[in-house]
Amino acid sequence: MVHWMNRMLEVTDLHAYYGKSHILQGVSFVVGNGEIVSLLGRNGVGRSTTIKAIMGEVPPVGSIVFKGEQIAGKRQHEIAWRGLGYVPENREIFPTLTVQQNLLLGRKSTRREGRWTIDDMYEIFPNLRERANVLGSALSGGEQQMLTMCRTLIGDPDLIMIDEPTEGLAPKLVAQVGELLQEITDRGVSILLIEQKLAIALKISQRVYVMGHGRMVYEGTPDELMQNQQVRSEWLEVTSGAEDP
């Protein structure tokens, strides 16, 4: 359990709706300072909606406290300014801008220096440096994923929420993304991760939550989850996922 003093993000009884569909039905969880927490579960259980509701992209009903301040109902850019970063699943690079311009827009203000510079990003992903002047639309899926993560990091978030960062990536890139996630926490940034590849999520997370039917059905450490056959078979497709590289 995360001590209350160390709570970076605390979500309590969060509900969200798409039209008349009740998608989130009372989600509660905590992310501590410098922690990597994974949200696990099958497709369609509401993991992405949880992140969108926290970010204000989907109207949230319930309590979302970030760094001691209630952010439910605030506008997206206000939430981002408070230090929450969001890397969406569909990547959303800006197609008419170059890689360099995409990264420049990651900075919230030209007067605010953060933990990360564009050069830091180029060090971690040299591919991006080579393609600095290429339009975002011309990048491969993997490069787009790197670009979106780097763009969010340049905004200097204290907690970054990442939705399926390794989806559709080649194994070499998956490893690179894993290294970046480690580097992110080394610099004191918390991570809330949605990841389909269970092996990665279990390897890098300190704690995991399992979602089912729009609510949390399990909380524990990766080791505890690995030992809990019942939860895995009921709520996760463990057999194939756990053996992913």
């Binding site: 800006f94 008419t96 827009l105 905004g155």
Partner: protein, 316 residues
């Protein structure tokens, strides 16, 4: 013939660039918000009337600065306290809102300034021929219109492509949520873009008022043609709007200058009709007479053969 080509081209350029000033704002607003602003030409009219009023006390030049600023602020307020709320009810509600706004502004103009044409004059300092060719004068004021239009186009292009705010606008056009999640205030940016778009229409009104006359129907005259330009150029395409504006400007000025009639065309094939032929009115129909219809003819052809417009990506 050379004389016709030179002067028609220059006049076409003046009209085309003026139309572009209106169309650029309209297309910018459409790209960002998906709103077809029917009241856009009404802001152009307001620009002319505001400038006229300012010119009565301070002369033409202060009006060139003050009127677009006023129109821009008014546009931003319309977005902030009108369109932003209507937006939640969908595009039909937005269309009806801007349609109603156009009527409201027209009534307001008639109420405030009356129905008669205003004596809004170009500045004396520009009241001389810029050059004389083949015995014809080209007024300095038209040269000034070309200069202002090109300067605004270059300025706008530089802002959109070179500045941080321009990059944010470009990104917000396609991915408003992603831009918001990076900490940029997209609603404020949209309000600003709407203000700038309407201010551009205001500039067009200020400089067109003295030439095209300032009267309550001036929005209606240019309003429909601006929509033709946006559709012909391709919804949301700034370059498309520029090409379409120049195309329509040149098309109209050449049509007015060339005294060809259907008769002349038929004569090429040795076909002629008596003056008392019952279709004589049709045979004697000349290009200058049909010039006002040509943009709409072009619109119909574009809708049939290229529904996305010249450079647009989505169906009109």
């Amino acid at each position: 013939m050379v004389e016709i080509v030179i002067f028609s081209t220059l006049n076409g350029l003046v009209t085309g660039l003026l139309l572009f000033m209106l169309a650029s704002g309209l297309t910018l607003i459409f790209s960002m918000m998906g709103i077809l602003n029917f009241a856009h030409a009404s802001f152009y009219m307001l620009g002319a009337y505001f400038a006229y009023s300012v010119s009565l006390f301070l002369g033409f030049w202060p009006g060139l600065i003050v009127a677009p600023l006023l129109v821009g602020v008014l546009g931003a307020l319309v977005e902030r306290y009108g369109l932003r709320y209507v937006h939640k009810s969908g595009h039909v509600a937005e269309l009806v809102f801007t349609f109603g706004l156009a009527f409201f502004i027209e009534e307001l103009v008639q109420f405030a300034w009356g129905k008669e044409t205003k004596n809004y004059q170009q500045p004396e300092i520009l009241d001389f021929p810029l050059f004389t060719l083949f015995g014809q004068n080209f007024p300095a004021y038209k040269g000034f219109m070309i200069f202002i239009s090109i300067a605004i186009f270059i300025g706008l292009y530089q802002v959109i492509t070179r500045t941080r705010i321009g990059l944010i606008i470009q990104a917000a056009i396609s991915h408003p949520n992603a831009v918001s999640s990076l900490g940029h205030n997209v609603p404020l940016i949209f309000m600003g873009a709407f203000g700038v778009g309407t201010a551009l229409a205001g500039v067009a009104g200020v400089i067109a008022g003295p030439v095209l006359t300032t009267f309550p129907g001036m929005a209606l005259v240019l309003g429909s043609i601006v929509f033709v330009i946006v559709v012909v150029g391709g919804l949301g395409s700034l370059t498309g709007a520029l090409i379409a504006s120049l195309l329509i400007g040149l098309l109209q000025s050449y049509a007015i200058a060339l005294e060809f009639a259907v008769n002349d065309l038929l004569a090429l094939f040795d076909i002629s009709f008596d003056a008392d032929h019952f279709l004589n009115d049709l045979w004697t129909l000349s290009l200058p007479q049909i010039a006002p219809v040509l943009p709409y003819l072009l619109l119909v052809l574009i809708l049939i053969f290229r529904p996305t417009g010249l450079l647009g990506k989505r169906e009109t």
